[in-house]
Point group: C2
Chain length 236, copies 2
DNA sequence: GCGGAGCTTCCTGCATGCAAGACGTACGTA
DNA sequence: TACGTACGTCTTGCATGCAGGAAGCTCCGC
């Protein structure tokens, strides 16, 4: 519900209205609120209570960069510590289907692409065999716009970002190659650069507010320049 | 209490005994248990309830490596995005005192060293100006043996690791230098290597079980080779 | 003697009542 | 008119009672 924009940023999450809204008692509600605070979507107040957290564009950029850092570490771990050939073959198979889907235009292909992209990243994290790393990544990728597939549905609607799907596929392929050759530094670097594709998408999306507003979690992002109609109002 | 070893690894944390032990009701206890699960010290069971989580030596190594990755990212952020000269001077001042304390032997100096080391790392993270990065690091550094000063009290008792204090001071100095010169890659690399000092300490400490057992959180670590008296029992 | 089913018992999760504290407001005074 | 104080209300946090469910044990049947 928070992601869907049913609560605005900075809004106080009082317990009693939520009890009336959700139909549950206060006890499980408090647990849920505490969990949302741990996930970073709510912020605890000093005198008790929670408010919906607000994310700046800088927060989103940091989250994307951090996802790249953590996924890069996962890639490096796999390269340094080795991976079964079977797992690498699985990654390649997934990526081959991704390549096919990246060249299609229909909505169903995008949905399949989204699913396979998630699977690729999840498989990679599983191969790293580091529960702590997986936990740290979950704490980052669950934030709005920070997940590996956050912008894919937007890409379906914006031809300007369609090419990014092609580049993403190449990143995946090179990443598999680097891991197989045990080139840890290259694997880490590639994974970071791969995540930075989302930065490009973020730039594109903030220029198309209509698409951005339809994305989940968009209501949590506070954009500094809230004047889309004015082209370049130089105050000087 | 978990860190002090009052609960053994894998022990089930039932609510009613804890209520009798702590003197609080079940409602705040449940919140505390949920928070400990988020912090990674407890693990939730499928049918409900929690058990004390067990950490392998590999978990500890991963946690230390991840701390290096995140602190390295913080150092890179500072180098790339710039830092006020005042903050850099503060780091230098802290590190100068650290150098003096690193050459002393008394226990009070070690305590001051520990405090200043924590302050140095906290100051660095503050300079990165990234709440998400700080949160991710907290989730890692709060685990047993993963914090930046986890082994310092052990170093006070083991001359074998005394030299590490000297090396740590040099790492700090080089890190400040790299940040000032805006050398992001070097800063990141140095911070990673700095964290890996803890890996050396871990190796030293596992050879001295008596020191290890006195460290907080030691009871949560499961060591695979639980046979310290046997020198090298080759089964062949 | 072994396996399965039923029962008992304990444990977790939820709903609700109560008290303490904080915030806002209104009134009185300087 | 502005500031301080006191009161009222709202909100959160805690304690407790109750119900659902799962695990363990025992007894019966094969």
């Amino acid at each position: 519900m928070i992601f869907n924009g049913e609560f605005s940023s900075g809004e106080r999450m009082s317990e009693l209205p939520l009890v009336a809204l959700l139909g549950v008692s206060r006890t499980p509600l408090r647990l849920a609120l505490a969990q949302l605070e741990h996930e970073g979507l709510l912020r605890g107040l000093a005198g008790g209570g929670y408010v919906v957290r607000e994310f700046t564009q800088g927060d989103v950029r940091d989250a994307i960069e951090l996802r790249g850092v953590l996924e890069g570490t996962a890639a490096r771990f796999i390269a340094e510590r080795g991976a079964p050939a079977r797992d690498l073959a699985g990654l390649r198979a997934t990526n081959q289907t991704i390549e096919v889907l990246a060249h299609r235009d229909d909505y169903e292909s995008f949905e399949r692409y989204l699913h396979l992209n998630e699977a690729f990243h999840a498989q990679l994290m599983k191969m790293a065999r580091s529960p702590l790393l997986a936990r740290a990544l979950e704490g980052i990728a669950s934030l709005p716009f920070a997940g590996p597939s956050a912008f894919i549905l937007a890409e379906a609607q914006l031809p300007a970002s369609r090419d990014i799907l092609i580049i993403a596929h190449r990143h995946h392929a090179d990443l598999i190659d680097a891991i197989e050759r045990r080139e840890g530094a290259r694997a880490e670097s590639l994974a970071r650069e791969h995540a930075r594709l989302a930065l490009s998408n973020l730039e594109i999306v903030v220029e198309h507010r209509d698409v951005l507003q339809r994305m989940p979690g968009a209501s949590l992002i506070s954009l500094p320049d809230a004047a889309p109609p004015a082209p370049a109002p130089d105050p000087a």
